[in-house]
Every structure is written in structure tokens, then in C-alpha cells.
């Protein structure tokens, strides 16, 4: 039993989404041409989330991937809320005042974000009021704190991450009279999520990363070849600095129990995350919240379970590491992806596959015979080779889909093997997670012309 190529395609393409930055007067003045994104579930339901939005009150575009664990509640909440926190953190004082006044007087609110969502990406309507109130409290504090300084993107990102995680924690502690909401905020807090977020404004690219998703820049060298530049550090046991950091934050007595089997406290793979209050709250707080919480929470062994060697919480933070990069004309694209991709593919291969895909689609160099001596046979061979390359590319209209096809279907020779692809995609739900993880990818394509002109202006 094999899936037909069209069945394979319909599975791979079910969640694909593309956005092109609109042009004005036939010109795209943004440094971003657009992005392609896609997800392939292994968990049922998928625990990964993705978000993309354009900031409307400041310049720039936000893109992020979120890898949830212990359920998808936290990843869902972060995917809905984080960009609002970032956008608000970036807003100048006057705009914050304007927004607060509008809310105060029941006037229409300035739109803050324009979302670019796949139809399957949803927002939870029930929690929107709760989320809004938390956000409002945040900007009210920002108004009160008015420093008069211009907002630094790095700081804004860090503040937004920390604030949202704090709000998630608080909401769970306070609870909600509505039992559905009450259960929801608890699920959000007790599950966890990583976040890897890019903010692009002109040539300034900021990556804020919490956890083990990854951002990678695709660079085209002068000879046309592709190389990869990491724009984030994984927060996991493979990262020595990260292990060092965790050890620094806790007494020497815990050194041995902090990281076991490459996991935090022997349990958690990512060393930083949203939610996961089991690694943040004191034991007393955890017990109190669980006991006063709804029955579902009490019946859940996982929530009641206290990690071993739990002495000096918090063990976990949502604070991101932020990397700033000034885009150059040779920086052609950015890949944000959850660890499902990076487990199966080396970043160098990712850079090459996406690079060839994007140039194959948009700038396949035409062949000209010119004055060269070319025989019909040579030309035929050349064209056949080009066709073979293009045909694998042309199956996909989306760079993220193309990458997933390779990630899942690549054989030992680095080419897509339909048989393998078909097998991997037809695994039963309960087996799928054993062979692969959820994969979520966003490929952002940069506008080299615009980036080049920024450079020339300086």
C-alpha cells in the first residue's frame, strides 16, 4: 500500500500558507518579499504553532514558531499573545496613550497587528477578553513607567517574552470564575512552549529565541553556492553555555541533579520555555493551585507530579536570547523551524535546498548559446538535468512544503524518495510520533534590491 503522489501532495500541502508583501506602484519597498510557511503534524493534535503578522503602528514584521509540549495549550496561547506583547513593547508613549484613551472612552482601537494566518490557525475566542485585560494592564504599566527613551528592539523582545510568561503564571494563580476559562489558563500554565521569533525592520533583523527551535539565515556566496548562518542558540543540554547558566543559578549541591539524561531535572528537553509552571513555581504554590483547581486538574497525574530534586525554583525561564543581524544583499532568506526539522536535516542542507528552490522558482538563469560551441547532445543533457532539478521544485509552490518533503522523504543520497515519503506519511497516528516530530517551518524571503539600496544610502 502506497500513497499516490497526489495523495502525498495533498497531505503535505494541507497546511501550507504563503504571503507576499504587497507592492506599491509595482515596487516592493519592504526588505521582505514574503514568506512561505507550513506544518506537518506527528502528534494528534499537532502541538506546534506558528504566527506571522505585520506591525501596523511601528514598522516591521513579526514571525514565529512555537513548539509546545505536554499539550498544545501553551503554544496556542503564546502564538496568539506574544506578538501583541512585542508590538506593545515597541510602541512609543504617545501611541500607548492614544490606545488607552480609546479603550477608556469606548472608541475604536487602533489596529496593532495585521495577522497572516492559515485558515487552520485559530484564536481562542473565549479567552480573548482575559488576554486583552492582561495586555491592557501591561501597557498601562508601560505608560506609568514612561522612561522617555526610544524603545530598543532587543529590550522590547525580552520584556515582552518575560511579561507574557509572567501573565500566564499569574492568570493561573488567580484563576477565573468561568470554569472553562479557569481550566484553560491552568492548562496553558502547566503545559509549555518554546518560541523562536523574528522581527524584521529594514535591514535590522532580531531573533528572540527561547528553547530549542532554531533560526537560520540562508546566504548566497559569490560563487552562487549556499551557506547557513545560525541566528539562535538552542537552549538544551547540547549547549554548554546553557548548561553552565542553569548550574550558575542554583546551589552547587544540585549540580548533579540539574541535568540528567540531557534533560532539565531529568525531565525537560528545552532549558527555557513559556509555561511549565511545574519548573517555576514553589512546591506550595503548585499544590495549592492544583488542589483548588478543577477536578480534571486533580485527576491528572502529570500536574500533581512534582519534579524530583526540586529545591530552588524557578528552574526554568522564558527569557529569550536575542541576536541582532544587519541584513546584507547576500542574505537571501531566513528559516524559522521547530526541532522537528533540525533533527532530520543539517542546516547546510536546509540552506542549499531552500536556496535552490527559491532561485529555481524565481531566477533560473536562462541558457544562452552565444558564441560557445555546443552540440545538440550536450545541450540535451544540460536541459534534461535542469528539468529534473526543476521538476522536483515545481511540485511545490511553497518553500516550506518543499523543505518538509525533503525532511521526511530524503533517502541516503539526499534526494526525495517517494516510497519513503509515502511510508512516513501513512504511519498510523499512534506510530507517527515515534518516527518523526511535529514540523513547523517559516521561510522568509528577503528583497536583496531593497537591502542593497539601504546599504548604498549609508
Amino acid at each position: 500500500f502506497y500513497l499516490t503522489p497526489s495523495q502525498v501532495n495533498s497531505i503535505l500541502k494541507a497546511n501550507e500558507y504563503s504571503f507576499k508583501v504587497p507592492e506599491f506602484d509595482g515596487k516592493n519597498v519592504s526588505s521582505v518579499l514574503g514568506f512561505d510557511s507550513n506544518q506537518l503534524p506527528a502528534n494528534a493534535p499537532i502541538e506546534d504553532r506558528r504566527s506571522a503578522a505585520t506591525c501596523l503602528q511601528t514598522r516591521g514584521m513579526l514571525l514565529g514558531v512555537f513548539d509546545g509540549h505536554a499539550g498544545c495549550a501553551c503554544a496556542q496561547a503564546v502564538s496568539e499573545r506574544l506578538f501583541y506583547y512585542i508590538a506593545v513593547s515597541l510602541l512609543p508613549h504617545e501611541t500607548l496613550l492614544e490606545i488607552e484613551n480609546a479603550v477608556e472612552n469606548g472608541r475604536a482601537l487602533l489596529p496593532i497587528l495585521q495577522w497572516h494566518k492559515h485558515p487552520n490557525d485559530y484564536f481562542s475566542k473565549e479567552a480573548s477578553k482575559l488576554y486583552f485585560n492582561s495586555l491592557r494592564t501591561y501597557w498601562q504599566e508601560l505608560i506609568d513607567l514612561n522612561t522617555g527613551e526610544t524603545t530598543d528592539v532587543r529590550e522590547a523582545l525580552i520584556n515582552a517574552f518575560k511579561r507574557l510568561d509572567n501573565d500566564i503564571s499569574l492568570e493561573a494563580q488567580v484563576g477565573d470564575p468561568n470554569s472553562f476559562l479557569n481550566y484553560l489558563v491552568l492548562r496553558v500554565a502547566f503545559s509549555g512552549s518554546t518560541a523562536c521569533v523574528a522581527h524584521v525592520d529594514g535591514v535590522d533583523l532580531h531573533i528572540a529565541n527561547t528553547g530549542d527551535s532554531r533560526a537560520m539565515l540562508g546566504v548566497q556566496e559569490e560563487d552562487g553556492s549556499w551557506s547557513a548562518v545560525n541566528l539562535s542558540y538552542d537552549h538544551n543540554a547540547q549547549n554548554e553555555n546553557e548548561v553552565e547558566r542553569v548550574k550558575m543559578e542554583h546551589p552547587k549541591s544540585e549540580e548533579k541533579s540539574l541535568v540528567k539524561q540531557d534533560r532539565l531535572l531529568g525531565l525537560l528537553m528545552p532549558f527555557r520555555a513559556f509555561g511549565d509552571v511545574k519548573f517555576k513555581w514553589s512546591i506550595e504554590l503548585q499544590k495549592r493551585v492544583v488542589e483548588s483547581g478543577p477536578d480534571q486538574l486533580n485527576d491528572n497525574e502529570y500536574t500533581k507530579f512534582i519534579p524530583p530534586n526540586y529545591h530552588t525554583p524557578p528552574y526554568l525561564t522564558a527569557e529569550p536570547e536575542v541576536i541582532h543581524h544587519r541584513l546584507r544583499p547576500q542574505d537571501k532568506f531566513l528559516v524559522l523551524a521547530t526541532d522537528g526539522l533540525w533533527e532530520t536535516m543539517h542546516r547546510q542542507d536546509v540552506a542549499r535546498i531552500v536556496g535552490e528552490y527559491l532561485t529555481g522558482v524565481h531566477h533560473q538563469q536562462p541558457i544562452a548559446v552565444g558564441g560557445y560551441k555546443v552540440t545538440l547532445g550536450q545541450m540535451h543533457g544540460l536541459l534534461t538535468e535542469r528539468r529534473a532539478r526543476i521538476s522536483s521544485v515545481f511540485e511545490d509552490q511553497n518553500a516550506a512544503t518543499h523543505l518538509i518533503r525533503h525532511a521526511v522523504g530524503n533517502n541516503e543520497f539526499g534526494t526525495v524518495d517517494h516510497e519513503r515519503l509515502s511510508k512516513m506519511l501513512s504511519l498510523p497516528e499512534e506510530l507517527a510520533r515515534m518516527y518523526r516530530d511535529d514540523i513547523t517551518i517559516i521561510v522568509v524571503q528577503f528583497n536583496s534590491h531593497v537591502i542593497g539600496s539601504y546599504q548604498n544610502e549609508e
Binding site: 560551441k373 540535451h380 535542469r386
Partner: protein, 882 residues
């Protein structure tokens, strides 16, 4: 690149050019650098102005000047023969499926052969022959059909084995071939030089040629061409000829009153190579490999090979904004599949060195046939363009026919299939053209089986019942943009896939149409015939009647409520149109003609009706939905729905009455069915269409009503020997020649168009006779089906061709209709065809080279007519329109 190619492909030899013109072109070469004014100023007036100095323009100029026209000016925006003509591959091929195209190509070949001798200009004419290859049996059948029609025209042609192909062309890989067609007299030319030779001869005959002169627009007053505005001033003229090739569309739209010329350009690629190590002989035949989509000719010791890819690249959709044609890019990736086909066909060429990939735009038309003739809206505005990449093959013949058209009022052959008036404004949308030519270009090579349809540019004109019919399994074809039902696939039978119906043999719809025919014979069927062209002609006084009496051969001075079948004849008695006319009142008439007559008939009437504001002609095609109720129970359905007696005593045949059907009033009911079966056509104002259709279907249920399509209609009309305009009848066929004398009233008391010729034919006899053939030894299941255009043999000698055919479910035989001529056995001279001549012959029909015995009949089987027919009311004309 273009410059290099120009030198290579066409070494321009100006040895014997006309002195005046030669001087002019020379000095113009210098003006391009020094910007001097043009040395020869334009004349203020001329009889004919031709726009376009390619093969078409020069051919028209050549033939016009030969036919005695003196005052001719040819304008070319750049240099002569510098557009598509310059780049074209120069293959003169007579293997054309349509008879008129075949005749044009044959004439071109003969013309080019003697052109060098006539003009002294080297044309590079070389009789190499051509070989069309078949990789499949179906392809071989289509080649055999062409071979049959070439042979009866006296053009040498044979079907040969793959082995013979190898003898004729040593480089060919024959392993995948099943056969081929060899046309030994096909030729190669340098197309630019042919064009220059024609220009030289024309110039000697007095044609003034001005290069670097652009026509900005054509002025038209009161529906006539009055002059041409150019960038160098105005020329007054009587006739304008638009030979602007791919720019013809824009030129047509440049004036205040647009002339719609539906052409659209596509990029066309071919490859040039350096010579082989042992250079190819210049006499090596040209190879056409339609299954591989390529052609290959010898060229300067190497080869020239191009083709018609599946995914053409249309261009200039928005007009000539972007780039000049000389600057078009080579696109090797696009050419890849054709290169593969070439190397598969000639594997030995692998080591051959590439010289260039030429990108040469060609103009294509919506139906793959070229466009010629006079504009329906502007008299004196002629067009010749849209050659679908066969410009060199057609150039000579097309130019000749157009010149005849201008000089004599009509060409010497029936060119209706190429007539500009087969199109209207509805084919003029750029989006439509872009989509359609993307289908047309690959079709150049695709196998065309009987009754194939275009797939693009569909669902433009539809009946209000379209969705209803579609939901009931309708399968559609298109005519003049209108969707019409072929047949209805019964629910549950989804076995019919498109590929299976692509056959030269018995098609998959055979039983479906059979059951529709049966229902027409035994119960009642309804066919949506809304596509027919419908005009109303009315006047305040007797002008309408008087004008129509002059334009139509039958007597229209009948009582109100009568329907008359009549031809609309030209001066030579030939059918310009074939219609049914109902007299609605003393002073108004309702005229129904075939679908594709909408533009032609309108133009003909406009040109022939007196200029009288009290005489009104209106196109009401869009106002009525037509439902044809065919069958013995139609009368029951209709009388139940209208509470009116519909039997023959109350509603005789060929009668028309406005009545109510269901709740809807004002339905024009006519007792005709266009099939010879009993029944009625309902002309329903469109807002009532759905209501009436629903009522008819509900009421009809108990009488066994069902939907039917045009295939059933065609079978019914052909078995009853009804001719159909555009298929059987044309401007060269008179009523006398097709057994319709009874529709001609020579003694109706006033003169009418064509009368003299008909009178003469009545006295002296006719030179061809429309005849029905029943195939005798033809096995419907196993043998190839006839289509149309099959040669007819009488006592072993060719006497004519079929014009249409269908399987008769009643006779259980194939019926072919066609014309029989009588050629003198020694001289070939055409003799009078008598009834005895028809009746005393043994006949055979040639289907793709296989001959089947046929019985000839001059009258239909009376047993097929359910009704007793009264002599004068015979609906024999039926004139069915498909």
C-alpha cells in the same frame, strides 16, 4: 543575432529589382543613419492601399497588379519581409486537412516554382518533398485521409512504409514508426526572398512600395473605407487591405470604428545548426513528425528544426508594448522537449553543433484557420492574416483569392471556412484569444479525430437552461461561442471518459445518441436550439416584403402565420444563407438562420437592404430561447400545456403562431423541427425559458419525454437528406444543384437575386448534384467511420467529395451526403450531371484509403417520414444547421 540570421537565411539578391524601388530602398538604408527625409513622397490617393510588406501583403499586391489593378500602394512599417516572414522556416507543404487550404498551398507551390524565372529574384526554391511520420495507427489514419484528398486533386502523394522512409532520409530513426506519408512535390524556399520576388514583380506592374511607413489608422465613413492615415501623411483610397500579421488586431482597433480581427501571437522556436561533417544535401526531404511535435528541414548543410510545444508562450496580449520581435529571447528550457523529440528522431545529430535558437512570433486564430475577406462593418476594408504558422504555404493562394475578392467581388473558390465574417466581436476579447491560441498552437500537431471540440474559451454564450441541462448529464460543444448539447449521458453511466471517445471508429456515444434518436421517433424529445441566429425585419409599408422578395428565392408573399424555407442567394444563385422565415404580420418577418450566420447574414442584409429608415432590421438572437420538441407525442405535450388543439388540422406543418405555454404568454410556436420528424420549435422570450422548459418536462413525463442533443438531430436530418448550410451548402451551390427547386419560385412575379442563373440551370441542367449515399459493405463496429471530405468514386473514377455523414439508426447504415460532378473522361471538362448519370453509376466512398460500396439516391426514403407530406410543404429543405 537577428542580423546574422538575416544574412544567412536569405542572401538578398537584388539583381533585377525595379529601378525606382531599388533606389528608394537603398537611400532608405542611408536615411536610417543620416535621418534625411524620405525621397519618394506618398501619393495623395490610390485605389488600393495594402498595409504590411510580408508574404501576405506582397502576394496580394502581386496578384492585384496581375489582375489589372494599377493604382496600388503597399506600405510597410519597417523593411519588406522583415517580420514573421523573415523568420519563417520556409517550408511549402500541401498536406493540409481542409480542401480550401490544400488548394491554396498547391497554388502557392506552383507559383513559387516559377517565381525566380519570372522575376529574376532568387527564391531558393527547392523541390525536396516532405515526409509526415506516424508513430501511431490513429496518426496513420489521419495521414491516409489527407493522402486520399491530395490524390484526387492530382497531387502526387503516397503512404509509405518505415523502411521506405529510411531510404528517402538516412538519418531517421524508424523504430517507433508505423508508416508515413510522402509528398514528393513539397518544397523549400527562402520565405523572405519569395516575398521580395513578389514585391519586385508587383513593383514592375506599377505597385508603389513604401517602406518605413506606418499606418496609424484607417478612416471609414458611412461604412466605407475612405482613406489611410500614416506617419507620412494621408492616402485616400477605395480599398484597404490589412496584412499586418500579428499587428492586424491592433491595426483593426486603431480607428474610430473597430474592425475585429481575432489573431494573437505566440512565440515560436526553431533551431539552426552548423553543417554536418558531411553537409546534408539540399534536396533531402523535409520531415514532419507530428507525434513528436516537430519538423526538420535541411538548411545550409545542417538542419533547421522547430515545433509546436504543448505549453506555448503567448505574447503581445496587451499589444506591442514591450519589445520588438527582433529582440525576443531564446528559451532553451522551453525548447527542451522539442530537442528531445529531434534527437529521438535523428539520434545521429548528437554531435552536431548548435548555431542558434530562433524565436519567431507567429499569429494564431481561434479556430486554426486563417482569416481573409471583407470586414462586415466597413466595406472596402479587407483582411488577410492569421496564418497559424503556415504563411509560406498559403501565401500565394491566399493572396490570389483575396485579390479576386477585391477585383471580382468574390474569390473563385468557396472560402467561407476562412472568411473574416465567421467571427464577430465575441471572438475579439484579448483574454479569450490568449487562452484559445494556447490551445490552438499545440493542436497544430495534435491528432484531430472526428468532431473534436475546443476546450478553452468556453461557456461564453449559453442558454438560460445551461445549468439545468448540464445537471442532467449534458455534454457540450461550441459553435460561434454558444454552448450546445451534443448528447446527454444517462445517470449512472460514468464509463465515458474523454479519451475513449477520441477515435476514428465507432465512438462511445453511439448507443446514447441511438436512444435519443429512438425517443425522437417514438415519443418526444426536447433539444435546446437557442444558438440559432434570429433576425426580425419589419417596415412601415411594404418595404420589408419587397426587399425580402428580392433577396430570397422562395415566395415570401404568403399568408400571415406561414413559415417558408428559402435560400438567400447571391448573383450566381449560390447560397449565402439558408433560412426559415415566418411571416409574423403583413409587414414583419422573423428569420432563423444557422448559428454562425450571425455576422455574415447581418452584413449581407445591411449591404443589400435599401437605405430606408422605415425598414428595420434587428438581431433578436439573444431575446429568445428555442426549444425543439421532436417526435410524435410533441403535439400531445403542447396541446396539454396550452389548452389549444395542435393537431395537423388546426396547426398544419410550416405554420407559426404566438400562443401561451403554461403560464407564459407570447411564445412563438412553429411547426418545424429541422429534422423531418413531426414536432414544434418554441421561440420563448428568455425570461420564460426555465418556466416553459419545466412545464414541458413535467407534462412530457407521461409521454416519455427526454432531453436530446445535436448528434441525434444530425443523424435525423442526414438520414432524411437535409442539407445544412456551411457544411453541405455554400456560396457556390445553387438550389437546383441540391434538389431544392421547389424552394425557388422563378415565377413569383418579381426579380430576385440569382434568378437568371437558376433559370439557366433549370433549362440547361447543373454541373454537380447533391446526392445521398448509403454505405453498403461498411461494418459500423469494425470499420473507420466516414466524417466529411471523403472522395466519392463513380465506376472507379473520382466525381466529388462528401460534405457530411451520419449513422442512421433507422436504416442501420451510414449515410453520406456529397456532390457528384461529371468530368469528361478525356478532357476532364465538367459536364452536365443528369439524373441518369447519378442513377447509372456504381459508387464507392474512400475513407482513409479504403473504399466502401455505396448506393446513390437523389431523393430521401419516404418511409422515414412519419407524416404524410404535402407536395408543396415538404420540409425537405430542413437545411439543418449544426
Amino acid at each position: 543575432a537577428a542580423g546574422m540570421f538575416l544574412r544567412l537565411l536569405s542572401d538578398i539578391q537584388w539583381r533585377a529589382a525595379h529601378p525606382r524601388w531599388r533606389r528608394m530602398t537603398r537611400s532608405q538604408r542611408s536615411t536610417s543613419t543620416t535621418a534625411e527625409p524620405h525621397p519618394v513622397s506618398l501619393p495623395a490617393q490610390a485605389q488600393v492601399v495594402i498595409c504590411g510588406g510580408g508574404i501576405m501583403g506582397t502576394s496580394v499586391a502581386y496578384h492585384l497588379s496581375k489582375m489589372g489593378f494599377k493604382d496600388i500602394v503597399l506600405l510597410e512599417q519597417g523593411r519588406l519581409a522583415a517580420g514573421t516572414t523573415r523568420f519563417c522556416a520556409g517550408i511549402v507543404s500541401t498536406a493540409r486537412p481542409m480542401s480550401i487550404e490544400l488548394k491554396m498551398a498547391h497554388y502557392s507551390n506552383q507559383l513559387y516554382q516559377q517565381l525566380e524565372q519570372e522575376t529574376g529574384v532568387q527564391t531558393g526554391y527547392m523541390k525536396t518533398g516532405s515526409i509526415s511520420l506516424a508513430q501511431t495507427q490513429d496518426r496513420l489514419i489521419s495521414l491516409k485521409r489527407i493522402a486520399s484528398s491530395l490524390n484526387v486533386m492530382g497531387i502526387p502523394c503516397e503512404i509509405i512504409s518505415p523502411k521506405k522512409v529510411l531510404q528517402l532520409h538516412p538519418l531517421i530513426n524508424i523504430h517507433d514508426l508505423v508508416g508515413a506519408m510522402y509528398v514528393p512535390e513539397d518544397a523549400l524556399v527562402s520565405s523572405a526572398n519569395v516575398s521580395l520576388a513578389l514585391a519586385t514583380a508587383a513593383s514592375r506592374n506599377g505597385v508603389q512600395i513604401h517602406e518605413r511607413t506606418s499606418v496609424s489608422h484607417v478612416t471609414i465613413q458611412k461604412g466605407r473605407v475612405t482613406g489611410v492615415e500614416t506617419d507620412r501623411g494621408r492616402i485616400q483610397c477605395e480599398y484597404f487591405v490589412n496584412c499586418a500579421g500579428q499587428w492586424a488586431y491592433e491595426l483593426g482597433h486603431s480607428g474610430e470604428e473597430p474592425v475585429h480581427i481575432p489573431v494573437h501571437a505566440c512565440e515560436h522556436f526553431y533551431l539552426l545548426t552548423h553543417p554536418l561533417q558531411e553537409p546534408l544535401s539540399s534536396s533531402l526531404p523535409t520531415i514532419v513528425d507530428p507525434d513528436g511535435r516537430i519538423y526538420i528541414r535541411n538548411w545550409q548543410g545542417g538542419i533547421l528544426s522547430g515545433g509546436f510545444e504543448k505549453n506555448p508562450k503567448p505574447l503581445f496580449t496587451e499589444g506591442r508594448n514591450q519589445l520588438e520581435i527582433q529582440n525576443l529571447q531564446e528559451d532553451w528550457d522551453h525548447f527542451g522537449p522539442l530537442l528531445s523529440a529531434l534527437l529521438r528522431r535523428m539520434p545521429g545529430l548528437e554531435a552536431l553543433q548548435i548555431m542558434q535558437l530562433v524565436n519567431c512570433p507567429e499569429s494564431f486564430t481561434p479556430d486554426m484557420r486563417c482569416i481573409m475577406g471583407e470586414s462586415p462593418t466597413a466595406r472596402g476594408y479587407f483582411v488577410l492574416t492569421g496564418m497559424n504558422s503556415a504563411g509560406i504555404s498559403y501565401g500565394g493562394g491566399a493572396g490570389k483569392y483575396l485579390a479576386e475578392w477585391i477585383v471580382n467581388g468574390y474569390p473563385s473558390e468557396n472560402v467561407w471556412p476562412l472568411d473574416l465574417k465567421r467571427f464577430g466581436t465575441l471572438q475579439s476579447s484579448r483574454t479569450f484569444l490568449r487562452h484559445r491560441v494556447m490551445e490552438v498552437m499545440p493542436l497544430m500537431c495534435d491528432l484531430k479525430v472526428p468532431r473534436w471540440d475546443f476546450q478553452t474559451g468556453r461557456q461564453l454564450r449559453t442558454s438560460p437552461l445551461y445549468d439545468r441541462l448540464d445537471a442532467q448529464g449534458a455534454r457540450w460543444m461550441e459553435k460561434h461561442g454558444f454552448e450546445r448539447v451534443k448528447y446527454f449521458v444517462p445517470p449512472g453511466s460514468d464509463l465515458l471518459d474523454l479519451d475513449h471517445s477520441k477515435t476514428f471508429y465507432k465512438p462511445d456515444w453511439f448507443d446514447i445518441v441511438g436512444s435519443e434518436v429512438k425517443c425522437c421517433k417514438e415519443a418526444v424529445c426536447v433539444i435546446d436550439m437557442s444558438s440559432f441566429t434570429k433576425f426580425e425585419i419589419s417596415s412601415t409599408g411594404d418595404q420589408a416584403l419587397e426587399s425580402l422578395q428580392y433577396l430570397f428565392s422562395n415566395d415570401l408573399d404568403v399568408p400571415v402565420g406561414h413559415v417558408v424555407h428559402t435560400g438567400m442567394l447571391n448573383e450566381k444563385g449560390g447560397y449565402e444563407n439558408d433560412c426559415s422565415i415566418a411571416r409574423l404580420s403583413k409587414r414583419s418577418f422573423f428569420m432563423i438562420s444557422p448559428t454562425d450566420q450571425q455576422v455574415h447574414c447581418w452584413a449581407w442584409l445591411k449591404n443589400h437592404l435599401p437605405d430606408d429608415s422605415n425598414l428595420v432590421l434587428e438581431d433578436v438572437t439573444w431575446k429568445y430561447t428555442a426549444l425543439n420538441l421532436i417526435g410524435p407525442r410533441a403535439v400531445d405535450v403542447l396541446s396539454e400545456l396550452s389548452y389549444a388543439p395542435m393537431t395537423a388540422e388546426h396547426f398544419p406543418s410550416l405554420f407559426c403562431k404566438e400562443m401561451s405555454v403554461g403560464y407564459a404568454n407570447g411564445i412563438r410556436v412553429m411547426s418545424i423541427t429541422h429534422t423531418g420528424e413531426p414536432g414544434f420549435v418554441l421561440y420563448i422570450p428568455i425570461e420564460y425559458a426555465l418556466h416553459v422548459y419545466n412545464e414541458v418536462m413535467n407534462m412530457g413525463q407521461k409521454y416519455g419525454i427526454r432531453n436530446a442533443g445535436y448528434y441525434a438531430l444530425r443523424s435525423l436530418r442526414i438520414e432524411k437528406f437535409f442539407a445544412f448550410w456551411g457544411q453541405d451548402l455554400d456560396a457556390f451551390t445553387t438550389p437546383m444543384e441540391c434538389g431544392r427547386e421547389f424552394q425557388v419560385k422563378l415565377d413569383k412575379g418579381m426579380d430576385f437575386l440569382g434568378q437568371e442563373v437558376l433559370l439557366e440551370q433549370k433549362q440547361n441542367g447543373v454541373y454537380k448534384r447533391f446526392t445521398m449515399f448509403i454505405l453498403e459493405d461498411h461494418d459500423t463496429d469494425m470499420d473507420l467511420w466516414p466524417w466529411w471530405g471523403e472522395p466519392i468514386f463513380r465506376n472507379g473514377r473520382y466525381v466529388g467529395k462528401t460534405t457530411s455523414s451520419a449513422y442512421s439508426y433507422t436504416l442501420e447504415r451510414h449515410v453520406c451526403l456529397g456532390f457528384v460532378h461529371h468530368f469528361d473522361e478525356k478532357t476532364g471538362e465538367e459536364l452536365v450531371v443528369t439524373t441518369d448519370f447519378i442513377n447509372q453509376g456504381e459508387y464507392e466512398i474512400d475513407i482513409a484509403g479504403q473504399r466502401f460500396q455505396a448506393k446513390a439516391k437523389l431523393y430521401p426514403f419516404s418511409s422515414l417520414f412519419a407524416q404524410r407530406r404535402r407536395k408543396d410543404e415538404v420540409e425537405l429543405s430542413g437545411y439543418q444547421r449544426e
